[in-house]
Every structure is written in structure tokens, then in C-alpha cells.
Symmetry: C2
Subunit: 487 residues, 2 copies
């Protein structure tokens, strides 16, 4: 080296200053979490806040303290609300303080979980083994931690397509399929299933949508009829998708019957258990998922009903080899070694879409150890008990009407006025929900069931208490009464 070259780094010039800022961030985030109950769930932001995110690309450095202040004044001041005890919109996770600390450690250590022989990779295998144990899958099954339910469904359905196509679809493509491939699930399937089927090139028409009964469960007879009809018409049925907890009402398909059909018909059995699969952890609920352990592939989220911070979901595949064969593609520059850093039995990139992969295993590993699985079971049961509590409050109140069964953690209901028709009630409840959001009191979301606009509370929140549902009912009735004359 002839001359001294000036070389820069992104490490701080002043470690102590960054350290001080980091400690302040940590303290204030813990304050924020500890006091979250005292704040509004959500509130609309002034235009001045929105305008802060219309700035030109920063060319020169800004002071870290000011950047952090701006974060507090925007993100913490105008949050989505899903970490609040009275947020029950869509199906969201809450996160935990320990999950936050785990994410800090993961980002600091910053390993790449594409593969390799290092402790973070063994930890991910450990978490996958625990997932298999939770779900009743054999230890030798395949699996992958993914971004969430959508990706877990995509992984499962890719393996289904590739395994059951009956020809080398990875090379030859669908253009060489001897017969058009078909998949089956109920009309209550989650949208991510359709998205996956479209992505896979099958087209949404290849996803047969089977009707449900009054419990929102798939009509098994109609399914058998559809499969038989498709076979006669020259199609090739390859996969049945069972719901373990539908997004609209929390319904469970009869998974045993679906498993039987798949066995008889030689079809792949995929279970979308995005949140419902975790019911297995509660002794009172596990009967709901009977048959789930017979699935060829299972998708579920851990950032919903395991309350971990985003993003983490899991795909399990009964026969590891099916999963590897669907995804592995190991070129020269990635060929695996027998010793050194590039060794390691499992290269996770061989089992899914991603090559570089973050260390999402850490928050699962730390949290499962922190709480123990029994506590997750109790909390899941607690949420279901809260849903039943809310459902009974709704049923007991003359101005409220329940719009669907509440077998699990989802309650769909509306404010009613005897003389009003559905059209008027739909408009009234729509406005009611917006006012409820704007009040900052509570945040359920909404859906439409048989043409009726429903307030929908999906409870996957470890901070909720029964008093929170009392408050929801109180405000829904109060706002409903205020609005009723105008609708």
C-alpha cells in the first residue's frame, strides 16, 4: 500500500452519541408501549404531517436526533393503531416488548438466513422443529419461515402444483400440461389463495370456489361433485385447500373430511391456517383443527395469533423432499460446501422464493422461550372467550344484531333500528365505523355478509381486556343512536 487513502464507513464517528440516542429511543419506545392504553387507537393526521413525507431525496446528512424526533412526531403520533388494546381490525398482530428487543438484536447481528453453517441457521431449524411440534407435523417434515400467510400459502400451493402436476412443470411449464390443472376450496377462502393461484399461472378460473353451509364451512358433498365433474370434463384436479379459521367469520372447514377426500382422490391437501391453526394450542379449541395434521402443506402466521412483530409466517410441508424439489436451484456460485462457512445441511433458500433471508427466527425463538407454549394457548383461548363475551353482549342488546356465528375470535354485528331496511342500515353502520375510528376509542374493521354491512371485531390482541369490549359496545350504541335519525 503506497499511499494513505481516505476511507469512509457507515459506522458512527461518535459511538457514544449514537449510544446515548439509542438508549433514549429504547426508553421512549418502552414508555410508549407501557402507556399505549392511554392514547387514542387511531386519529386522522393534519396535512402538515402528511407533507413531511413529500420531501426531495436527501443528498447530505441530517442529524440523527432530528430524524428520530420526526419519527416520533409522525409515526408514533399517527399510528395504525394495531398495538392498542382496542384494535380488532382485519386480523392484525400486536407485537410485544420482547419481540421488539429481539428485532434489535436480529438487525444488529444481521445474518443472512439464505443458508450456511452458523448459529442463526441452527436457530431457524430449531424454530421450524417447534412449529412442527405445535402443529402435529413429523420432525422430518419440510418447513420455512416466511413473511406471512400470503407467502406461506404461495409456498404450499407451489409445492402442490409442482408435485401433483405429474410432469416436469419446472422445466416444461404449464403450456405442456397434458390436462388443465384444477384446485378447490370454499368461497370463504382468503384472497391470498386466489393471488397465489394467479401467480402460479393457473388462472383464477382454475380455483374452483365451492359453496359453504350456514356455518360458513365448505359443502363437502358439493366439493366431491365438483371434483368428479372436472375429472369427467378432462381436467386434472390436484389440490384441495381447507380453511382453518376463515377471515370473515373464523369458520373451520371439516378438515378430516377434506383429508379423506384428498386421500381417496390422490390430491394435495393444503390447509390455510393463517390465524386459526394456532387454535391447536388451546385444549378447548384443538378439536376445531382435527385433521389439520394430515395436511400435505400448512400455512400459518406467527405475527397474528402468536403476537410477534411483523413479519413472520410459516409454511410446513409434510415431505421435505417435495418442498426442496419445488424450489431448489443451486448454481455454481451457490453450491454448498462440506466444511467452512458455506457448509450446512439445510440451505433455506432451497425451500422457498427468497435467496437472501433475514433473521426472523430470533423473535420466535426468544418469545417462545420467554412465554412457553402453554401461555400462548391460554391467550388464544382468552381472545376466543372475549369474542364470546362480545357476542353475548351483542346478543343481549336490543339495538345490536349479530350477523354471523362466532365460533372462534371474530364477531360480526351491526347497529340496528327496527324500521330501517338493509340499505339504510348499511349506510348507517358505515358512517358509524368511520366515527368510531375517528373517535380514537376502538378500531374494529368491517365486511359484508349476505349484503349486510357488518362491523367486524377480530381479536388477536394480547392487550385486550373485557372492559375494552364493554367500551366498544357502549360507543357503538352511542354513535348509532346519534346517527339513526339521519339515515
Amino acid at each position: 500500500m503506497e499511499q494513505r487513502v481516505h476511507e469512509e464507513t457507515l459506522d458512527p464517528q461518535d459511538w457514544q452519541a449514537l449510544r446515548d440516542l439509542g438508549h433514549r429511543m429504547l426508553d421512549e419506545m418502552l414508555d410508549y408501549l407501557e402507556q399505549v392504553r392511554e392514547r387514542p387507537v387511531w386519529q386522522p393526521a393534519p396535512q402538515a404531517v402528511r407533507r413531511q413525507f413529500k420531501q426531495p431525496l436527501p443528498l447530505e446528512p441530517q442529524a440523527p436526533e432530528q430524524i428520530y424526533e420526526q419519527f416520533k412526531n409522525t409515526v408514533l403520533a399517527y399510528p395504525m393503531g394495531n398495538i392498542h388494546p382496542r384494535f380488532w381490525g382485519w386480523v392484525m398482530g400486536t407485537g410485544t416488548p420482547m419481540g421488539m428487543l429481539a428485532e434489535m438484536l436480529a438487525a444488529g447481528a444481521n445474518p443472512n438466513l439464505g443458508g450456511g453453517d452458523h448459529a442463526a441457521a441452527w436457530m431457524e431449524s430449531q424454530v421450524l422443529d417447534w412449529c412442527k411440534a405445535m402443529m402435529g407435523f413429523p420432525l422430518e417434515a419440510g418447513g420455512l419461515l416466511v413473511s406471512g400467510g400470503s407467502m406461506a400459502n404461495l409456498v404450499g400451493l407451489t409445492v402442490a402444483r409442482n408435485t401433483k402436476a405429474g410432469f416436469d412443470i419446472r422445466t416444461a411449464g404449464l403450456e405442456n400440461a397434458p390436462k388443465p390443472l384444477r384446485m378447490y376450496g370454499s368461497v370463504e377462502m382468503h384472497s391470498s389463495i386466489q393471488k397465489a393461484v394467479e401467480l402460479l399461472g393457473l388462472g383464477s378460473q382454475a380455483l374452483r370456489q365451492i359453496p359453504v353451509d350456514e356455518h360458513y364451512q365448505i359443502d363437502v358433498k358439493a366439493l366431491e361433485t365438483a371434483i368428479a365433474r372436472d375429472r369427467r370434463a378432462g381436467y386434472q384436479p390436484i389440490c384441495v385447500i381447507g380453511n382453518a379459521g376463515t377471515v370473515n367469520t373464523g369458520a373451520f372447514d371439516d378438515l378430516q373430511s377434506l383429508a379423506d377426500i384428498c386421500q381417496q382422490e390422490d390430491l394435495w391437501f393444503h390447509v390455510d391456517g393463517a390465524f386459526g391453526a394456532l387454535s391447536v394450542l388451546s385444549p378447548q379449541l384443538e378439536a376445531l383443527v382435527a385433521g389439520m395434521q394430515r395436511a400435505d402443506s400448512l400455512a400459518f402466521d406467527m405475527h397474528k395469533w402468536m403476537y410477534l412483530p411483523f413479519e413472520i409466517g410459516c409454511a410446513l410441508v409434510r415431505r421435505e423432499e417435495d418442498q426442496r424439489r419445488a424450489f431448489s436451484l443451486t448454481p455454481d456460485y451457490l453450491s454448498h460446501a462440506t466444511r467452512g462457512l458455506a457448509a450446512g445441511k439445510t440451505w433455506f433458500s432451497d425451500y422457498g422464493v427468497q435467496l437472501s433471508r433475514g433473521f426472523r427466527a430470533l423473535k420466535a425463538w426468544m418469545s417462545i422461550k420467554e412465554n412457553g407454549i402453554h401461555k400462548y394457548g391460554r391467550l388464544i383461548q382468552q381472545n376466543v372467550d372475549q369474542a364470546h363475551y362480545l357476542a353475548s353482549e351483542v346478543d343481549d342488546h336490543p339495538e345490536l344484531e349479530r350477523l354471523a356465528p362466532a365460533p372462534l375470535n371474530i364477531v360480526c354485528f351491526r347497529y340496528t333500528v327496527p324500521e330501517k331496511d338493509d340499505e339504510a342500515l348499511n349506510a348507517l353502520n358505515q358512517e358509524l365505523l368511520l366515527r368510531l375510528h375517528e373517535s380514537g376509542i376502538a378500531a374494529p374493521s368491517y365486511t359484508t355478509l349476505n349484503g349486510k354491512y357488518a362491523l367486524r371485531a377480530a381479536i388477536t390482541n394480547h392487550r385486550s381486556r373485557r372492559e375494552d369490549f364493554d367500551l366498544l359496545v357502549e360507543y357503538v350504541v352511542r354513535i348509532g343512536r346519534e346517527l339513526a335519525p339521519a339515515f
Copy 2:
């Protein structure tokens, strides 16, 4: 509420104890980062460490302090090594202390970036606008932050397929394609392109692999010939994939010529700029990516050459509407509102595979502000200068042989002994690399170029200094000399 029910939570019973532990974690992680240079890059772990990850599912809680100790004794003691100044394996990111703090804040706030009207969503839009500005894309283009390059390529190629198929492929599927669809790129394409094409149902045979010239750039004439031949044979060409920085050697295709061809032939132009696209930030390098701004879609990583913690990549799509039409699927329970929490112009879930999405925007937003884009340009240039420095050290050393041009940040070379043939040298260099990994001194990776096993240093590391490359050369030669007699 009739009776008091015991309700649990995952919030700590003792906030102060968790707070103390959090501060200790933060201090020790910052120590770890500050001292990373003093540690071995990588080292093999004893069996006792691996056995810690073969435990049964924890049923009851464990003490947080013990969990954290176990993390330190395993993950921090036996790391992948990619945050070390002398790690140049594959193409990895390094992460930064500020990126770590940002991930802590993101996990604490824990918003869901599927969509909605809240500050985190406006921040993601801001980061996307900055990405467009960096890459020379129009502000009205579509875009999405994703897990990394593999997903960004999948997003781009999905939009390509759906937009150029010429029929309603989302509904009808590939089984109804009037003609078989074909895509084109060079033999040096990244494996994630093939993975995406397989996932999309086209089959790898639909991805035409065009030869490269001696600079590892796509042979443009051969591409034109292949397109014409396919058209004559009844295929439907839909997309050309250009490389901005190949993974083997860092080569750039002639993107202007590819853009011209796509324009003439009415093909989708996708650029895989996983790490190379960021060259645009250095005034000395930006000529390499000339034509990139003409792409219909562009994929790049921000956890590689922007040094952010995993995971973050970006897909840009010139016409937002193409991207929305390829992915949007908005059922009743997700229909977007005009007011309240569920409002918001952009629902990110309409633009990609994921529905629930984490807050990866925060680390990008904070880091870009912390450093300013000019600094990223200088660091990227610094890595390229370091590659040239290493290349010249290799060229100057009689026992080392360079095996490919080094136009960017990747240097492929080997230890040589005059009388030995390639077979012997391959075996020698393979063992050399393992010993180098096991020494803990440095971690390049490897590839095979024209049958020759090459040590491969890909420099996307803001902690590397020139002296680190001196040490690499010193140890490669030292280990090579030790090994030579045995091969």
C-alpha cells in the same frame, strides 16, 4: 361485567426489569459492532453449541436474562460473519448501527404496511419516491418495498407476464395462452430469475438463455436472432431481462441496446439490478447503468449495496397501473374506505404478493436521511476502488491469477502453481478457501468460471479498508504455499 376474570398479557409484569435488560442488550450489541474488527470473521462451532438447538418445544416460561445469554453464546459467538470488515462472500450486506436502532423502533411501533391511512404508510411512499428519484424513474411510477432481489424480480416479471400476455391471464391462466410465452436474458442471469419464471408457470425452457461475450455481457445479436427465431416458430416473446451487475463478475449488459430492442419488438424490459443498479449513485459509475431508466420494471436490493439490515429490496414499475392490475384483488373485507383508518390512496398489498407487510421503510428512511445519498455514492465507489486495488494486487502477484474482468466490485481469482493443471488447482483452491474460512481471517466465496474454481470477493461492505485486502492476499498466498505440495 358480572365477575372479575383473570386476564393475561404478553407485556412484562415487571417493566423495569425488561427495561434494564433492553439497555444491556443495546450496550452489548453496540460494543459488538464497535469491536467487530477484532473478532474472527467466522469459525466452526463445537457440537455442544449445535445441540442447544435440538431442544423440545418449551412449554413453560424461561428467564429473559438466560435466553439472552444463550443468544450471545451462540448467535454472537458463531456468526455468519457478513458484518465483519473482511467478509466478501456471495453479495451480502453489512448493516449499520442506525439500521439496528431503526429496526427496534419499527418492531415497537409494529404497523402493518398492507395499507391504511397512517404515518408509516406515508413514509413508505416517501421512500419509494426517493427510490424512483435515485433510479431515474418518474415520480408517478409504481413501486413496492419487498424482501429482496428475488421478490423484486418476481414482482417485475409477474407484471411483465400479465401485461404482455395479451389476454386476461389472471382469470384464464396459461392454459388459454394463444401462443407459448417466452422471456430472454443472458446465461449470466441470477438464479432468482429462473426461479421466478418457474413459479409463474412458464417453465425454465421459456427463459431463453442467450450467450455472453468475453466481458460477460449479453450478445445482443444473438438475442435478436433468438427473438426472431421464436416468433417464426410460433412463440410469443414478451420480456427481455437485462443485468445491471451480474452475480458472477459484476458485468453490465448494454442496457441501451436492450431497451431499443424492447421498444422495437414491443417487449417488456426488466432490469435485474440487485446490487449493480446502485452504481447510479456514483458519478464515476453511472455510465454503466445507462438505459436502466428506460426499463419497464427494475429490481434492486437495499440490504446489499445500501448496507441496510436484512430484509429490504425494491421493485419499480414504470406504469403504476400495470403493477396494480397484476396484483390488486380487493375483496369485501379489504375494501378501502374514504375516511378513517382504512382510507389511504395506496394500499401496498395491491402491488405485490404480501397482504400483511412489515415496516421495512423505516430503516431506509432513517438511513438515507442519516447519511445522505452522496455518501452512499462515495461508499459504492470506495468498494469499486477496493476491488480494483485487489485486482491489481492479484495481477501483480506471480502466484495469483485473475479469472475474470473486474468492472465493478467483484474480483475472481485463484492461487496458481505453474506446473499444475486446472483439476489440481481447483482442488487446491477449494481447500484453500475452506482453510481461509476456518482461519477466521477473511471470507470470500467462490464460483466456477470456464471450469476454473475461483475465489470470489464481492465487496459490498462499508467496513472494509485497503489493509483488509492486503491481509486477504497475504493469507491466500500463505495458505496456497502450504497446500501446494499436497495437490
